[in-house]
Every structure is written in C-alpha cells, then in structure tokens.
Amino acid sequence: MTEFVSTSYNLEYPYQRTTGPVTGPFLTGLRDGKLLGIRCGDKVLCPPLEFDPDTLAELEPDFVEVGPGGTVENWTWVSEPTRKHPLQEPFAFATIKVDGSDTPMIHAIKASSVDVMERGLRVQAMYREERVGAISDVYFMPESEAYDQKIPKGKGDVPISEHLISLDFEENFAPTRRRYLEGLQAGKFIGQKSPASGKVYIPSKGYDPIERVAMTEADDVEIGFKGTVTTFTVITPVAYYGQEETEPYIRASVLLDDSDTPLGQQDIRNIPIDDFRAGMRVEAIFRPENERDFDGIDNRWGGTGGVIERWEPTGEPDVPFEVFSEHVY
C-alpha cells in the first residue's frame, strides 16, 4: 500500500547564455586564474560591465588585470549556507574592492571564523581546482589564510556560460488529490459532485471553478468504469533525447459516465488507430493492484499515471457527438 502523504518534484532548466565581448573575457580570465576589470573613464570596474553605470554609455572592451588582493568593504556571515552557495560551510558574503578596481564585487569569503571578518580585511582571490569559466571559479580568502596556487591557462575563450537551474519542491498532497489517489489504489474512480451545479469533476481540484464553490469529502462520489471517447490525437514519435516511442500511438480523452470532465491523455495501445473514433464506448481495465503506478499524479497534474492497463471497447453503439459536445477537451 502506498501512503499518499507528500509529493516532491524537481524543476530544472539548463540555461546556456552567450557571454559577449565584456563578460566573456572576464569569465575566460577567471578560468585562467586572473581577475579582469574594464576601464570606464578614469575608473576601473570589476566585475566588468558592458556599460558605464552612471551614463549607461556602452564601454569599449578595454581590460586591465586587477587583484589578486582586495579589501572588504562590507560583509555578512552566512551561518546556514544553501546548496546553491559556493561554499558549504559557514562563510561570508562580502563586497570586495579588488586592488586596482574602483567598484566592489560581491563574492564569497572562505574564512576560518566569523571573528576574522571586519571592514578593511585584506583578502585574496583563490581559484577552484575545476574551473568552467564561471563566477563560481573564484572565491576569496583572508590574506592571512590564503596560499599560493598554480593555475594553468585553459584553451580558447569562454563564449557560453552554462547555468543549470535545479529546484526541489515538496508538499503534502492536497486532501482532495489524496482521496483520488487512494481511490485509484483501491481500483475506484473518486470524483466530486458540485453542491452548486451538480457537475461531477474527476480528478477534482477540490472546487467547482464555474460556480466558485469549495468542495469537501462530503462531496466525493464514486464513478463507474465505462465512458465515451470524446476526442483523441495520434502522435507520430520524432526522435529526441529520452524518446522511447517508435510507432504512432493514440492519446484520448475519455468521459466517464455520470461525470462532466473527461480524463485526458489516456494511452491507447489495444485498439487499431483506424478503428478508433470519438463517440466510441470504452471501459477502464485497471492494472493489478500491486502493479499500479502513481508516478506523475500530484497536486499540479491529475491524470491516471500508470494505473489503467487499457481501455476496452464495450461494443455498445457509439454516442452521438451532440451528447458529449460540452465535454470534448
């Protein structure tokens, strides 16, 4: 038995950004173990900007090497780092004026203790063993704790900056969704009947969006296994990373009898494509209880996961379109 308590999911976007004529050389410099500033009038900006922050005029890519030393202007001590921070033990975020630069850089300082942190602290740029041409290639240490490094020069420029955004989420199943899942596990379709309109929603989101009425467990109803195909599409697979399909297949919407919202995205494999049609009568055959897979059903997405083995044609006469035209999606 699966206990439907909480659901977790990960959201990832692998960003690739072009670096351009100013950020590119700066990131290339970091990979090669040096800090570059850009000339802006009689000042030097590090990290370099593509524009004069006062006038917004575009800057020529006229670089000057700065650092590796610097002076702390301001700091805060991060006692509980997040997984996205550059250091995984307590550290300082600080604004650091790198020697030869006129603008402060915000970065991390790896220090033995918060006690060494103060305005005016002398720090030194340090480089990671593995450098990819990113701001995270560098960090700082107090000069008194820093040590010499030999940084080999990398190959070519850094034209692209890669940044994988990866976020984790966890929440409890909403009560309505939990009861829907418990129903599927027990081999039942559990929907909710709106006390305002009498419409039956499956899976319900816990409310009737048309009448704006919240629903409770008292509104739960069990729905039968027979229904009508209201619409479908035939998907011809194209090859892409992760694609496992090779042959055309059907995705259909099935409106269960005595319900008002079709179950979408139903996977049809057992009925020949040429025989499949809207209006066709079908019946859900559940997988054996120990083979039901609830993956993909959470508060965000409904569906039936891997719970239904197949939709079996019942052989009943087709239902005319007019009967289900309000429920096609």
Partner: protein, 357 residues
C-alpha cells in the same frame, strides 16, 4: 511622466485577504477563490460585473509552470473574463490596474496577489532573480543581501542591532492583534538581542516567516465607487522606482528609489495617520522611514507587517489592503502603503490613499 497624482477618482471599494499560513494544504486557486467570493458578497456584484481582473504571482514559487493560469480558476473566470497577469507582487498589479482604469473605458478592476512559498526553498529560488552571470551562480539570496544591507547600516552608524530588535519587538507584538498574522509574540528587545545570529548581523527574528497566502481588492472609478460602497478609499498617488541590479553599485544605507518615488508624489511624511511598509527584514523599516521622511506621529505597520506574515507576491498588496482597511474602519483618515521587490529594497512602490473627509 513621473507624476502619478490626479488619480483621485479611483477608489478601493473592498479588500480581502487570507491568513498567512506556514503551509496551506489546498491549492493556490482556492486561496484566491475565497477572496473573490468575499468581495462579490460584500459589494453585491456578479462576477461578470467586474470589467478587468489582474493578478500578481510567481510560477517559480511552487515550481509549477503556468500556475498563474490555474489561478484564474480562483477568479471565477467562466464565462471568460478580461484578465491579465504580472510575475510580480500584486502591488504592481494594482499599479497596472490604476493605469488601465485611467483610460476611462472601464469602471472596475479586481486586483490580486497570491503565492505558496511552502513547497519550495525561497532562498534558492530568489537567488535566480539576480544577475545571471555574476550573482545567480553563487546563489546570492535575499537573506544574505539583507545581511549586507544591515551591516552597511551598522558600519555607517545609522543604526544599532537594538534598533533592529525594536522594530521586531513592536511588529511581533502588533501582530498579536492581527487575525491574519502567522508569527506574533510579545517579546522584549533584550530577549531578542540574546538570540544567536542567523546571517550576522541579522538574527532569525529579523527575517520574515515563510508563508502561503493571498490578498485582493476591488477598484472602482468615481460614481461607480460610491455606488459600491459608502466607504471608498481614494487613491491619491502611486509610483514605483527601481535601482541597479548590481548591488555593489548601490548605496545600501539609503533607499534611493523609495525617495525618488516619494519626491515624485510630493508626499509630506507627516501627513499620514498610518504607513504600512513592506518591511521584510527589520533594518528596512529604518531605511524606509528615512526615505519617506515619516514623522513619529505616523503609526508604522499596525498589522505587524511582513515580519508577521510574508506571503510572497501578496505581501506588498497586503500592505495596501491593511492600510485601506484602517481607513474603512475609521481608524485612519490618510495612509501610505509601500511594496518592495528584489533584494535589499531594490524596487519600491508607494501608494497613498485617503477616506472621504
């Protein structure tokens, strides 16, 4: 086009908000639906009597692409309604609604803000708002930025840690009287200062809680406003300004953009009975009070403010709701509401309002 005055024929005619929840168990549309129904009941309007609907929310918060589309369920959007959305706090939706109403062809606008921060890790999510080359890859988060801002103020001699604690002590005590507050407590400055640091010089109580929640208000123009309520709250000015996305280039010891917005509106910091400020981190109250030139006669955050409940994307609009509610209850005649976005008060919005004299 700096001056946003001359909007005095637009009024808030109803406000509603949910409590701040540490983790709301139902979905975000339900948060909004309860508020829509509350406002319709109060004003006697049918859903389709409202001309325009606009909401602020953030899909990243609960990690659901197009969550803002699901939220439309909460507004009662069938038959279809005229609506829009911002990936910003609802206070900026208010700004857009006011601009839209000034076109003169519609009379009412429903404005909402909502968010569920509980499923995600806000510190990791909001680091993604920062510069994608220089700051996001090192996870520069709002709490750390608030820590830098606080330390800059201490170094400049503009505040002490006891000043921060004073803000917390008063806010959390005021929160005891706010039925929507999530965190409220009667706690002394000395007890607060005895707590360990979280992000030095900030202690955990200098930070807002992680919250789920929503707020909503209905705007109406001129005669329509008077038809809908006998207690209209007239918008007397609204403006918002933003500072550099490179915090290293900002002076963190002042809120420059708040001051520009205040100057644009020509506000007199002594002219308000109450100010609801988006104080997410206690030092921000001191910066805002200075930038707005608020005198000691102005009561700040009687609701307890965001330190008692921080439903991201609704927090700013909630300030407007709280201020308007005090005017409607007759406890204030004039009020200022403030909303903030970005790290260390990067972007600031001011909305001023008054009741019928």
């Amino acid at each position: 086009m700096a001056n946003r005055q001359g909007t005095e024929d637009i009024a808030i005619v109803a406000v509603a908000q949910t409590p701040s929840y540490r983790a709301y168990q139902e979905t975000e549309p339900l948060l909004l639906m309860s508020l829509t129904n509350e406002i319709l009941t109060e004003t006697g309007l049918e859903r389709n009597d409202i001309d325009f609907t606009i909401a602020g929310s953030c899909d990243y918060l609960s990690g659901l692409p197009f969550a803002f589309v699901s939220n439309v369920d909460g507004f009662g959007a069938w038959p279809p309604v005229y609506e829009s959305h911002l990936e910003m706090d609802g206070a900026w939706a208010l700004f857009e609604a006011i601009v839209r109403l000034q076109m003169g062809d519609i009379d009412t606008a429903l404005v909402a803000g909502s968010g569920k921060s509980s499923p995600g890790r806000p510190r990791e999510i909001f680091a993604l708002q920062t510069n994608p080359y220089y700051h996001a890859p090192i996870g520069l988060d709002p709490i750390s930025m608030a820590g830098l801002q606080a330390n800059a103020m201490l170094d400049a001699g503009k505040a002490t840690e006891a000043d921060f604690a004073e803000v917390v002590s008063r806010s959390r005590r005021d929160g005891l009287k706010n039925p929507f507050a999530q965190v409220a407590k009667d706690v002394s400055v000395d007890d607060l200062l005895a707590e360990p640091y979280h992000t030095q010089p900030l202690r955990k109580h200098d930070l807002p809680p992680i919250s789920d929640g929503a707020s909503m208000l209905l705007l109406a123009r001129g005669d329509r406003a008077r038809e809908l309520t006998d207690k209209p709250v007239w918008i007397t000015g609204i403006d918002h300004r933003m500072e550099s996305s490179h915090p290293g280039l900002r002076d963190l010891t002042v809120s420059a953009s708040t001051k520009i917005a205040a100057d644009n509106l020509g506000i007199d910091g002594g002219a308000f009975d109450v100010a609801e400020l988006c104080v997410r981190y206690s030092p921000e109250e001191l910066l805002l009070k200075e930038a707005l030139a608020l005198t000691d006669s102005v009561r700040i955050n009687p609701s307890g403010g965001p330190l008692c409940g921080h439903p991201v994307m609704a927090t700013g609009l909630t300030r407007v709701c709280e201020a308007a509610r005090l005017i409607r209850k007759g406890e204030a005649g004039t009020a200022l509401a403030h909303a903030a976005s970005g790290a260390a008060l990067q972007q600031n919005l001011i909305c001023t309002m008054k009741g019928d004299a």
